[in-house]
Symmetry: C2
Subunit: 131 residues, 2 copies
Amino acid sequence: MQQRRNFSAKREAIYSALASTKIHPSVEWIYQKLKPTIPDLSLGTVYRNLNVLREMGLVKSVGVVDGQERFDSDMSQHPHFICTKCFRVIDVPVGRNFFDANTYGYISDECGVKIQSHNLTFYGVCNNCPK
Amino acid sequence: MQQRRNFSAKREAIYSALASTKIHPSVEWIYQKLKPTIPDLSLGTVYRNLNVLREMGLVKSVGVVDGQERFDSDMSQHPHFICTKCFRVIDVPVGRNFFDANTYGYISDECGVKIQSHNLTFYGVCNNCPK
DNA sequence: CTCCGTGCAAATACTTTGCAAAGCG
DNA sequence: CGCTTTGCAAAGTATTTGCACGGAG
């Protein structure tokens, strides 16, 4: 196992669990998912490793949804849709990127800041929820 | 004072405090700001009233920044810039709207959802912070 | 031996809530 | 009087952290 390569068995499992789903899970969800397989897993470990993975740039946060932070292992720049009723998080496929380096530069100058990234989220009601 | 019109004195003060600044304050900031003038103000009241104001559509959340929710009384659709070092929140002026009804409709169809709003946030380092 | 990773429980941090008292029309 | 608002403190929820132990090189 690639130890000394930033991956412990549990960190690997946490990353895999996240990468294996499209639901953009919360810490709790990952914990519940792995607990049966790894009985001695603790919630703190999931929190800690998600933060490590984030620092390593392997994972990013979708933001806090209904009180819990949600994560994504898809590091490509893409918007999300969040259902305000059931709090489902869905990837929004985009042909082109809405914002490129030029846009960043333009707005950076405009505001006197240095933009490094952005987050685009749409809100509404998904098709599983009653209108 | 327009009582029975959804405004108690404290709610009014909370709204005014929020509307009087561009820093997109947190609950705590509003509380500290008003406390000297209104000594018997309690933190719970600020929380409660911001939620009421939000439901009334007079206020919206910028999101959770560094652990605290930040608010904005400017209900116009506009992006924000958040400094990842000092957590300053700045309005981003935009000539046109990035997303109009057509875009909403297009993406809604694409994802099988009904988009009602969106949130666009840029991240980076502001000009007050060291590179 | 030395680190890194971990369980566990305690500690934080922010926000919400129950309740009785107070305010307003 | 009836409904809204509030202070206060307690409760709730999510997340972080201290510490000592355990495993890998």
